[in-house]
Symmetry: C2
Subunit: 351 residues, 2 copies
């Protein structure tokens, strides 16, 4: 297909249906998926963006590189287990890891609202440096903008990252094969609940801390152990459900998972019941899924668990022979249902 | 110096002096310079960020790469001669060009305010694609966040860029040498005045359009002609004056320029007089300065003029033998004065 003919002169997103952008367009669910698939991808269409991965992978001379970006608008700026600064480093580093890349360099773009306390900015900047040191990346270039009071929300941070890929694997939804095991790196939902509780001043019996954590070491462990990693995805906005739906859709394969294999801590489950959330859709900032050949599953679980600190990895499902592109889940009582993306907005501004 | 000992535990910026961030901290003048030099550089200190260039230059395997980022918060979103979308592409591409790199790939991070018209977003996205096509770069990865109504300003865009350096020059303030000629690529101030006029609804006899333009072709022309380019800088926030002061300071050399060599169109000069602006500090989005050996100056002027469309390049000054790190300007009436950064805020949100 020719690049210029593929460039869409008419917006494939039916604008009359959503004449204005809503919060849910950034929520990780169906509306965001539509915005990306029917506006950004058609407008920018090229072979790299069409892969629909957490980042772009390309070669320059003999270097195979990954490149990714995320903006961070999390509210509040500081929450149990994390803050916007460390999230802005860890989140982008994790996207590079999901490309199978070793993270090397980050950029930082600050959009400050007039009036933010300088002391607060300094704390955030220090937390970024600490998070960068912890994963061995360098912040090497940046930009600062200030917008008028009432036109921002204290601070928004964009980071972009560059990493190097030092193996021959193609880690992508396209590499997923029937029979692949799906390994989840740990329990679900702590980040979403931690943000929600901090924002709304909710108190549970125990403080639920975000799961925010760097994932590059775990991915590096899988690759250096010679496991033929097929696809990786971190479970941020939209949670496990959206990640699986996206991969099923992009690969064309059906994915079958089992609810009883998915760990959710009791306190998180309790909070979800009170608040009306489903942990399958809650954002995590230190959890990912790995698609690996069935024969590598046990070793992958071992490696991922060793890097998961206070939780364990588990095999939660399998890639089916079917080519429906759907995700099905066998529930605790044995019934099977189709897992879809969230159609509304579960929780805004969680990252 | 050891990286960890260099990491500043106390903020070198005297926070008590500016307990809150002001608009001028993003204005390209002294306050922004202080914020960068006394907060971001000490916090993130490493050999790459210390170069104080428009982007970072590093090697991965046998590829020499440039990496840069900018956020765009320009207001209004559409103005004579440009718009936020094309600016978000051209501005970052220009920063790569200033590193002497051939721009290849861009990321795009959108921060949308709930309620922005979907049609407007589509227009902006199309303009980004057109600007990318015009310079031969691809938008390959992105991110979208939506913030609550009243917590943003319709749209902010961050772009980061990766380019490849295919020559052996070290283009940096550190490469500047006494005797180097300073070439300015065209007339000053059109972008700043265009934004100001559009924002305030001012009307002049003629519509002043932004000078917004890609600069990579001109830089490529200089390099492929074998000109030993020492340093490049585009004249965005803070204008020509700030760019020269930064380079003089970073290199330690004194810079001497002549006011009569600096082109300012009559309508821009008139607008400046009415509005109380100094064209030396006005932002441009399609102008740059090149430091080249004196013997290459005439050829450099020829090449830069050939790429400048509706204006001409000129030799505006020279790098002195003196090591004061200052910039002096001989005025039209022959007096010499020191050029400093702007201490207040000339014009907010121009890019």
């Amino acid at each position: 297909m020719n690049e210029s003919t593929a460039f869409a002169p008419v917006c494939p997103l039916p604008i009359s249906q959503y004449p204005q952008i809503q919060m849910a367009h950034g929520g990780g669910g169906k509306l965001m998926h539509d915005l990306i698939e029917k506006m950004f991808v058609p407008a920018f269409h090229n072979t790299l963006i069409d892969v629909r991965h957490d980042g772009a992978v390309f070669g320059i001379k003999d270097a195979r590189l990954a490149f990714t970006t995320d903006s961070y608008v999390v509210k509040p700026l500081f929450f149990p287990g994390g803050d916007i600064g460390s999230l802005a480093v860890t989140g982008t580093v994790n996207d590079l890891a999901m490309c199978g890349a070793k993270p090397l360099y980050l950029s930082a773009g600050f959009i400050l609202e007039e009036g933010i306390e300088t002391e607060k900015l300094w704390r955030i900047v220090q937390l970024m440096r600490q998070a960068a040191d912890a994963v061995g990346v360098q912040l090497v270039t940046g930009d600062t903008k200030v917008v008028d009071r009432g036109k921002g929300d204290e601070i928004f941070i964009n980071t972009a990252g560059v990493g190097v890929i030092e193996h021959g694997l193609t880690i992508s939804p396209n590499s997923v094969r029937p029979g692949d095991a799906i390994i989840l790196s740990g329990d679900l939902g702590r980040h979403g609940i931690a943000i929600m509780a901090a924002r709304e001043g909710l108190e549970f019996e125990t403080v639920i801390e975000s799961d925010c954590a760097p994932l590059a070491a775990a991915v590096g462990g899988l690759i250096s152990a010679g496991i033929e990693v097929r696809c990786l995805r971190d479970l941020t906005r939209g949670g496990l459900a959206s990640a699986l739906v996206e991969i099923a859709e992009a690969s064309g394969h059906e994915i079958n998972i089992e609810e009883e294999k998915i760990a959710v801590r009791e306190d998180v489950q309790g909070a979800c019941e009170i608040l009306g959330f489903d942990p399958m859709y809650l954002a995590n900032e230190g959890r990912f899924i790995a698609f690996v050949p069935a024969g590598d599953a046990d070793r992958a679980i071992e490696i991922m668990s060793a890097h998961a600190f206070d939780t364990s990895a588990a095999r939660i499902g399998v890639v089916s022979e079917k080519t429906s592109g759907l995700v099905t889940m066998k529930s605790l009582i044995g019934a099977s249902r189709i897992v879809d993306m969230f159609s509304g907005e579960q929780l805004p501004r969680i990252c």
